[in-house]
């Protein structure tokens, strides 16, 4: 009997396993994960879970007996020590040796850690996994002043939750605007404004140079000599792809595990999917790495197809979302390289969309509390051609659904 092993029991890993079964694979499926928990949802960790609205068992994707029913054997709580791709063996840290016929690497990403002096204090927290979220939830309930380093999605979502819990909140961002890497200035300005209106002290262009930790408080010292005092620091400064296992085994890596549009790595027996991959998507000219639920799921389906010898090329429009206070930001496409913006609606009224064009083609859209426009945008961007009249997109009197 054939044995397929999946290393990494997150959203992508689970999806590979389920897609293998749905695709009719009747061999062995082993799902190996470093974390002790069965696969769980990460997005609520910075939202409802942190707020205390849901508990950990509700985050599980599937109940425990589901895995047995589907014939998915889970090896959880054990890191992989080594991958020998020549002999097709996965070595676990507990000494187990697992042979495979084919392998999927869905190893995800981990938080980038602060390296400034004082960053090792236990009151400096991160948010990626369930353990992080449990720790942060307890500490947030005891904190009065919270400082967040990084004005990205994690930082701003945590800021919104901390304000909701009644904490004093400061956000320190190194760039000149929040969410700079992913959205246009009009969207950055909107989010900075809604946080400031709710009492968050947003400080832009602030470089953290040290953290002075005393038993009573943490003082963040910035490069311009100013300081922010807090009981708790949350750093959300990005993630790093988990590629060490792949690289040590000799697989090609370049800012991620390099895969083609069929999720194939440089080894014919190994596929990879999710946050850890530098991948080809046929809709884009260059490879990229994306941290998202959509990519984890859709690329995992491609990877499973390749494992089953039914290759289907990856060509999906990316989408993302973020919840902050009562605002839902929904994004689709990749806006990098845009040369023109079209605004639909009024940011002052708290609901609008921004359309990104490059060379007259619609490439991305961000919608704030405009779910219908987001859904239409996903379809518009997925349709080849993409030269939609800007005047119509900007005119809120015209129903977007009538444009195509």
């Amino acid at each position: 009997m054939k044995r397929f092993i999946i290393v990494g029991a997150g959203q992508a890993g689970l999806q590979v396993a389920e897609s293998l079964r749905r695709g009719g694979f009747d061999g062995e499926v082993l799902l190996v994960g470093e974390e002790a928990s069965l696969p769980y949802q990460r997005p609520p960790l910075s939202k409802k879970y942190l707020l205390g609205e849901v508990e950990a068992p509700r985050l599980l994707f599937r109940p425990a007996d589901h895995y047995a029913k589907l014939g998915i054997a889970c090896h959880l709580g054990v890191p992989v020590a080594k991958l020998d791709k020549e002999n097709r063996i996965v070595y676990l840290a507990d000494g187990a040796e697992l042979c495979y016929d084919r392998l999927a690497l869905t190893t995800g990403a981990r938080v980038r850690e602060l390296t400034v002096p004082g960053a090792g204090d236990p009151r400096v927290c991160y948010l990626r996994g369930l353990n992080d979220a449990e720790n942060l939830r307890v500490r947030l309930s005891q904190a009065r002043r919270v400082a967040i380093i990084g004005g990205g999605f994690i930082g701003l979502e945590v800021a919104a939750i901390a304000r909701g819990l009644g904490c004093e909140v400061a956000v320190l961002e190194t760039q000149s605007r929040v969410l700079q890497r992913v959205v246009a200035p009009v969207v950055s300005d909107f989010f900075a404004r809604i946080h400031r209106e709710r009492g968050v002290n947003i400080q832009l262009a602030q470089q953290v140079s040290a953290i002075d930790a005393t038993p009573d408080a943490l003082t963040i010292i910035t490069a311009d000599g100013s300081s922010v005092v807090a009981d708790l620091i949350v750093a959300g400064i990005g993630v790093l792809p988990n590629i060490e296992l792949a690289r040590a085994s000799g697989l090609l890596c370049d800012g991620g595990i390099v895969v083609d549009e069929f999720a194939r790595t440089s080894d014919p027996s190994i596929v990879s999917a999710g946050d850890c991959t530098m991948h080809r998507n046929l809709l884009y000219p260059r490879p990229h790495r994306i941290e998202s639920v959509q990519n984890a799921v859709d690329q995992a389906k491609v990877a499973a197809g390749t494992l089953l010898d039914h290759p289907v090329a990856y060509a999906q429009v990316p989408w993302f979302w973020s919840d902050q206070y009562d605002f839902k930001l929904q994004m689709t496409g990749i806006s990098t390289g845009y040369d023109e913006l079209v605004l639909r609606g009024e940011p002052e009224k708290g609901a609008f969309s921004v359309f990104y064009y490059a060379d007259e083609r619609l490439i991305a859209a961000d919608s704030i509390n405009r779910p219908a426009e987001h859904m239409v945008s996903r379809k518009l961007i997925a349709t080849p051609g993409g030269c939609y009249p800007k005047a119509q997109l900007a005119d809120t009197a015209i129903d977007l659904k009538t444009i195509f």
Partner: protein
């Protein structure tokens, strides 16, 4: 606990007990109902927990809100009684509810 019956695409019935306060989607997932995928985990972002409320229950369950209505645009075979099951919270009034699973992929 309220009883909720799911009828899957093969016509098979799955009678489940779902705690008050959970979503109908969570009830389906916990009981391994085939066809309810819920890849976004109940964030009303993906439409893969799409199902049809049984005719007899239409008035009790009610209509989707604006976000759900928009998200349903992504669903296959949307019909008048389409709902995203992640957005239906189980209440005592829903005891006996019948849900027909839609084609999700």
């Amino acid at each position: 606990m309220p009883k909720i019956t799911f009828i899957d695409l093969d016509g098979q019935q799955h009678v489940t007990d779902v705690a008050i306060g959970l979503s109908v989607m969570e009830g389906a997932i916990a009981n391994g109902v085939p066809g309810i995928l819920a890849i976004c985990g109940g964030s009303c972002a993906c439409s893969t927990c799409h199902a049809y409320v049984d005719d007899a229950w239409a008035g009790v369950v009610g209509a989707p809100n604006e976000i759900e209505d928009a998200t349903l645009e992504l669903a296959n075979d949307r019909k008048p009684l389409s709902r995203l099951t992640c957005q239906i919270v189980v209440t005592p009034e829903l005891d006996g509810l019948v849900i027909h699973v839609a084609k999700n992929d």
